[in-house]
Structures are given as C-alpha cells and as structure tokens.
C-alpha cells in the first residue's frame, strides 16, 4: 500500500480543508465567470444599457417631472415641441413629454418581453427535456404539438386572439408566448438528444438513478446554459415582437405608453418631427441589441471551460 501511494501522481495543490474549500471552489468559478464578462467590452456596454433601461423603468416616476404625462395625460398647449431643456426629448402629438413616455413605456415593453420569455422557458424546457429523453411515442406526440404551434406567426395569432378576446397587454402576451415556447422545446430536445449519448448519463443509469432524477439533476442543468443564452437573446426579440403587436394596435391600448405604439403614433409626423417615434425606435433598437450581445457574452462565461480561454 505504501508503494502504491508513493506511485500516485502528484495532485493539485490543496491548501484549505473541508468546508472552506467548498466555498473557495464556488468563489473561484464565480470570479472566473465575472472575469470573463469583464473582459468583454461589448458585454459591459450592453449590461450598462440594459441596467439603464431597467432602472429607468422601475424609477420612472422619480426620474421625470411629468409622471402624469408619462401615464397618458395630455398637455395640448405644448404639442409638438422639439427637444429643449424642459423637454429633453421634446413632446408628442398630445403635448406629453416624450422622455416620460419612454420611461413609462419601458415598464410595459420590458415586462412584456420578460413575461413572454419566462413563460416560453417554463413551458418549453420541461417538454423538450421529456421529449428528448424518453423518445418514442411521447417524443412524437410532443413534437407534433410543437410543430402545430410553430406554424402560427405570432402577429396573426395575436390578431386572432385580439379579435376573439379584445386587444390588451395580457392577450398580446399570451399570443406571443404561445408562438414562442415551441422554440425552446426544440432547442432543449436537440440538446437532450445529444446529451443522452454522453457517458455521464449512461453512468447515472448504470448507478441506478431513476430516470426522472436523471432528467432533473443531470439533463436539465446541462441544457440550461444554451437555454439561458437563448432566453437572454430572446428578450430583445420579444420586446421587438411586443412592440410590433402594439404598433398595429392589438396590444396595449392608449393611453398606456409602449414603445411600439409610440412609433405607430408618431409615424405620420416622422419626417418633420422625428423625436417621439425616433426615440422609441432607438430605445427598441438599443434594448434588442444589448440583450443579444449580452447573451453572446454569457454563453462564453457560463461554460466552465470556455471562461478560461483567451479569445
């Protein structure tokens, strides 16, 4: 036994014992993650923009002297004023401060995007995992249902739901979420299919771990990385889609502010008075872009191997 120990290979240096070691391991991985993010200037920039929007949305009433206008009260005497010191982004066709509209609109647009993605992930992921892991008739059934929903373009579905139930924030959100969840089912299923062939899944089966436990402990966490990356990028797209639906008037109804409807309202005046449609459009553009870039950076930061690699 002594000679066996002597013949052992040298092991990684271990300075700390027991529980402290656990915390240091976690901290090390976390710091590597943050370091990977910090390294990427685009990631930092997009994070900053997103943070600005989120804070702006949350603190909207405090950030503008015109909260009632933000919520919708008109101020007809100040119609169409260009950007000035009192109204940094000017006023719209009803005299409301555009910046205030933008901030309150952020609440609606961002939460629309967030809720849509949340529902899509929560519904789509488990379905995809089950379909991928079990295969067979269950897989077939789930995929056919998925295909059915994938066939609907979100705008048309929103129109149908709006026609049936009346246009509103909630209905628009349901409509978009219904067309979104299948993507996650697809992505997760593909991941699970490739994961299923991995040795460590076979190892878990050979140990005698129950199927459901394998899915919960091994499969889902390993597919979460692409899901989170996808979800982050989708936040941008969901905001865009929400704006599109509001743009055609099927989502949020006036006077509630929303970036898409702001573009729609300001469209006809755009050539001479671009500031209210333009700022809403810019906001959508920046938000979508930032979420996309962040998702990209997140992908590299979340994988314990790639976060150590130099680009």
């Amino acid at each position: 036994m002594a000679s066996e120990l002597a013949n052992r290979e040298a092991l990684p240096q271990v300075p700390l014992p027991g529980r402290v070691e656990k915390r240091t391991a976690r901290i090390r991985e976390l710091s590597l993650m943050l370091a990977a993010l910090r390294r990427d200037p685009l990631a930092i920039a997009s994070l900053a923009v997103i943070l600005a929007f989120v804070l702006g949305a949350i603190l909207a009433p405090l950030l503008t002297p015109y909260p009632e206008q933000g919520r919708g009260d008109p101020n007809l005497l100040e119609k169409f004023k260009p950007p000035s010191s009192e109204h940094p982004l000017g006023t719209d066709y009803l005299g409301r401060d555009v910046l205030a509209r933008l901030l309150f609109g952020a609440r609606v647009s961002l939460s629309m995007g967030l809720l849509v993605v949340l529902i899509a992930v929560l519904v789509g992921t488990p379905l995809g995992a089950i379909a991928g892991y079990y295969g067979g008739w269950l897989d077939n059934l789930l995929m056919r249902i998925t295909d059915m929903f994938l066939a609907f373009p979100s705008l048309l579905l929103a129109m149908a739901i709006a026609a049936a139930l009346g246009p509103s924030f909630t209905n628009a959100m349901i409509a978009i979420a219904l067309t979104w969840w299948p993507w996650y089912t697809r992505v997760v299923r593909a991941q699970v299919l490739s994961l299923r062939e991995q040795y460590f899944i076979e190892a878990a089966r050979s140990i005698g771990v129950k199927d459901f436990t394998i899915i919960r402990r091994h499969v889902l966490p390993n597919v979460m990385t692409p899901v989170m990356v996808q979800a982050t990028m989708d936040l941008g797209s969901a905001i865009l889609t929400g704006a599109a639906i509001s743009f055609i008037g099927l989502g949020v109804q006036p006077p509630t502010p929303e970036w898409g409807s702001m573009i729609s309202d300001g469209r006809i005046y755009f050539i001479e008075r671009p500031w209210f449609a333009g700022s809403a459009g810019t906001a959508i553009f920046l938000a979508t872009l930032s979420f996309n870039l962040l998702g990209d950076a997140l992908r590299d930061a979340l994988d314990p191997r790639t976060r150590r690699i130099i680009k």
Binding site: E4, L5, N7, R8, E9, L11, P12, V14, P17, G18, E21, K22, T24, A25, E29, Q198, Y199, F200, E202, A203, A204, R205, S206, I207, G208, V209, K210, T213, R217, H218, P221, N222, P304, R305
Partner: protein, 329 residues
C-alpha cells in the same frame, strides 16, 4: 475457479435495426452482438478483445442491460436480469457497475467530486451528511486519491486521476461485478500502469470479478485469466490467457491479431500475417463465417456455413471449420 459462474450469458444478441431509404423500406440490421455465450467465474478477469465493430463494447453494456438485448439471457447468480422489471433492475444495479473509457466524459462536469462519488450512495443507501462524507473519502483513499479534493471539479484533474475517481464511484456500493470498458485507452503509458496496478490490487482486496474490454493485446494478456476474441459480433475464440498468447491462438483471426499488434520485443520485426482488406460492414456480414473473406486458410465450406464453437481441449473454445476438422458438408 469453481463451477458456478457469477455471470452467465446465453445466446445473447443485440441487433440494431434502422429503417432508411425513401419510404423507410430499406432496413439495416446491425448484428452488433450475435448469439454470444459466455461464463464469467467469481474473482476471475475475463478479457474481451477485438477491433472496431466486433461488438465488445455493446456486449459489456448488454450484460449490464444498458442497451436492450434482442435475444438471449444474462444470468447473474442464476437469475436472468433481462426478465427483471424496471424497479428490481434498478436496485440490482448496485451489484454490477461499469467504468468507461473516457474519464473526462464519464462525469457531469457541473458536479463536484463529492457529489459525483456520493451519487450511488444517495440513490441506494440512506447515508447522508457526515457519514456520507466519510464514506466518500474512504472510497477515494482506496483508489489512491486523498480525500481533501472533495469540492473540486472534474476538469481540474488529469485523465489518470479521474479514472481513479471513476473507479471509486463504481466501487461505492460494493459491487461484485465490474465491467471495465477500455479504462486505460485514453491514458498515457505510465498512468496506464498505475491504473492497472490499482485494479489488480482492488480485485484481490474486494473479491471483484472483472469483464475487461480492450483492443490492446498487451494489457489483455497482462490482466486477464481468460480471453475472449470477438469478430463482427461473435466470439471466435475463448480460452485461458496462456493458451492464446503463448500457445498461439487457434483461430486464424486470433493469430493475425497477435501478429499485428506492435510489441516492444528484441528482434521485433517479425513475420506479420497481413490481412487483406478491412473489417466488413456489420450490417452486411459475409455469409458463412464472417471472417472468411480475409482468412488465409478459408475453405469452401467457410463461405457457406457459419462455424459453431468447438471445445479444442480443456475449455478452449474455437469457432472455426479448421478446428472442427470438417472439410466436407
């Protein structure tokens, strides 16, 4: 070696069927394992050797019921595990474990070492907390790894270290039977030696029975008591290690295999039995004896009738018409 095998395989076949072509008419039937019969006795090491497509890996997995056999029986202590219902099979798994070829891929990279080795214990026993921690550390020490690396992650270790951890995990539930699927193929020579030494020591200390699968002949002859040579899903020769390696195998394929394997030997540039062509497509095996197109001694009958395993003396089984002595139908 007593008379009662721990594991007995009877008529085991694993066929993979896939439908392809335009209207799913063309069926491809890959006979990965074809009518294999084996007995593995307690505390012995049975080595299984062969090249790509011979079915050795599938055989190992089929014995553990990790792939679904198409036909046959797998008797563990006399009971056919292929007939177990899922729950009974699951609890039975603690008696038979497997160590895989790729140490890095055998572990969920998101789990730390403690959780990885503890998983079998958490699944089958009530061990938790301090007691669990202690048992994991014991297992690691047994494999030659100090217990203070519990909170590290797999990617921080080398192949050899991970393989030790894999062995520790496989032994967590005190199994009696271990399938080792090319456990050293991904390792360097010096590390390979350490792992082989470890496996041999543990076999003695814990009275384990091994099914050792590999393509490396030098390892097989070192560690096995008996050797089974496989070709295209069938066992073509099965005998004690000395008979095959020192007595020279009786089956032409075994002979060619032994002659092809590069060994470090003075005067090593010996006469090779060079086989023509390559291993045929397992979905389209040649008729009769699967080896006959490449066999230097092929006879007319070899292309028509598949040879049945024959005892050439003292349990040395060979599936070859030459040995059967049959030259006419």
């Amino acid at each position: 070696m007593n008379d009662h095998p721990l594991v007995e395989v009877r008529g085991l076949s694993v066929h993979f069927v896939s439908a392809g072509g335009l209207f799913r008419r063309q069926v491809r039937r890959v006979r990965a394992v074809d009518d294999v019969n084996l007995k593995i006795y307690p505390q012995e090491t049975l080595g299984v050797v062969g090249e790509t497509g011979c079915g050795k890996t599938t055989l190992g997995r089929a014995i553990l019921r990790l792939v679904k056999p198409t036909a046959g029986q797998v008797l563990f202590d006399g009971q056919d595990i292929l007939k177990f219902d899922p729950e009974r099979l699951r609890t039975h798994r603690r008696h038979m474990q497997i160590v895989f070829q790729s140490p890095h891929m055998s572990f969920d990279s998101r789990f730390n070492i403690l959780n990885l080795v503890a998983e079998p214990l958490q699944t089958h026993t009530g061990l938790r907390g301090e007691a669990l921690l202690k048992r994991v550390m014991e297992l690691l020490e047994q494999s030659g790894i100090p217990g203070d690396i519990l909170y590290r992650y797999p990617h921080e270790f080398s192949g050899g270290q991970l393989q030790r951890i894999a062995i520790a995990r496989a032994l967590a539930l005190n199994p009696r039977f271990l399938v080792l699927d090319e456990p050293t193929s991904a390792l360097d020579v010096s590390v390979q030696a350490q792992i082989i030494n470890l496996l041999q020591r543990l076999q003695g200390e814990l009275t384990l029975t091994y099914l050792f699968i590999t393509h490396d002949l030098s390892i097989i002859q070192h560690i096995s008591d008996r050797v089974a040579v496989m070709y295209l899903g069938k066992v073509v020769e099965l005998s004690k290690t000395e008979d095959i390696f020192y007595g020279n195998g009786l089956h032409p394929y075994t002979q060619a295999l032994l002659a092809s394997a590069p060994m470090v030997h003075p005067g090593a540039r010996r006469e090779r039995i060079l086989l023509q062509g390559g291993v045929p497509d397992p979905a389209n095996p040649p008729p009769g004896c699967a080896f006959h197109p490449r066999c230097p001694f092929a006879m007319e009958i070899c292309g028509r009738v598949g040879p049945r395993p024959v005892d050439a003396g003292a349990g040395h089984l060979v599936a070859c018409h030459l040995v059967e002595g049959q030259e006419t139908t």
